[in-house]
């Protein structure tokens, strides 16, 4: 059995999940802080 497809699949899962987590957390933080700043300026 060729092991490389399994190694590549495991790394892809780890990298994609971590990247998605970072992007989601960053976007939600920026959105929430922008809304708070906007309300503060009003």
């Amino acid at each position: 059995m060729n092991p490389w497809p399994f190694v590549i699949a495991a790394y892809a899962v780890g990298i994609v999940a971590t990247a998605a987590l970072i992007l989601w957390a960053f976007a939600s933080m920026r959105r929430a802080e922008a809304a708070a700043d906007k309300l503060k300026r009003k």
Binding site: V7, A17, A32, A35
Partner: protein, 238 residues
């Protein structure tokens, strides 16, 4: 810790710490992955599939450490009523759930060539799956309590009770000697050859730094959302 419970003081530290921990984490993870894929030899038994270790072990560690963090923040919420404790618990949960899922999926991918099966109802695998479901339940409970304007005390109690699963996961390989191998890395040493082991601390520290950064981002989002909600409520009553 008590001094950091002040949201304004926390934000002064969290803003630069978010970027620094993310940058350090990304550098360490990239270095660890590159080294793990190109600079280490294949294992004499597992062959190339041993390289999955550099992703699977940090994910397992963070899946468990995340719940330990939820339990600690739940205890501070219930005992000291720290204003940031509930925010911290809610911020940790999605990151912990993600890494618990990565641990399960990468373990399953490793299991197919190594054990000849994608899944087995083994003690370690089953207790890790339970941890993932506990995360989902915690997220649902904390969100429901927040929507109803509650303090999150039920979620905090759930966070403390759920911590019972952590020693079960840790000792599962000793209590039920089934498919999952025993502990190979301990405080006193490791049964893994150093030629294979050395990139692991890089990915462990790197993913941990990324985890910290994500939790800080979620906490900052939680505090900003609370601020908006408080201002809107105040405006509605004026």
């Amino acid at each position: 810790m008590h001094a950091l419970a002040n949201p304004a003081r926390f934000l002064r530290i969290a803003r630069p710490a978010t970027n620094w921990s993310l940058a350090i984490g990304l550098i360490l993870v990239l270095a660890g992955i590159a080294a793990g894929l190109t600079l280490t030899p294949p294992d004499y038994l597992q062959g190339e599939t041993v390289r999955i270790l550099y992703i699977h072990v940090p994910a397992a560690w963070l899946g468990m450490a995340g719940w330990a963090g939820i339990a600690a923040s739940s205890a501070s919420q219930l005992v000291w009523r720290h204003p940031l404790a509930a925010v911290a618990g809610r911020a940790i949960a999605p990151a912990g759930a993600t890494f618990a899922l990565v641990c399960l999926v990468t373990g399953s991918i490793w299991g197919r060539p190594a054990w000849g099966t994608w899944w087995e109802w083994d003690g370690r695998l089953t207790s890790m799956l339970i941890l993932f479901f506990l995360y989902l339940a915690y997220i649902a409970l904390a969100s429901a309590e927040q929507e109803r304007g509650g303090e999150g005390r039920l979620a905090a109690i759930f966070g403390l009770v759920g911590a019972i699963n952590l020693p079960v996961i840790h000792y599962s390989v000793l209590w039920w000697r089934t498919l999952h191998q025993g502990q190979s890395i301990g405080l006193t040493g490791s049964s893994i050859d150093s030629a294979i082991l050395w990139p692991l601390p890089l990915t462990m520290l790197g993913f941990t730094a990324i985890f910290v950064s994500v939790v800080l981002m979620r906490m900052r989002a939680g505090l900003a959302e609370a601020k908006v909600e408080a201002r809107l409520r105040r405006a509605a009553t004026e």
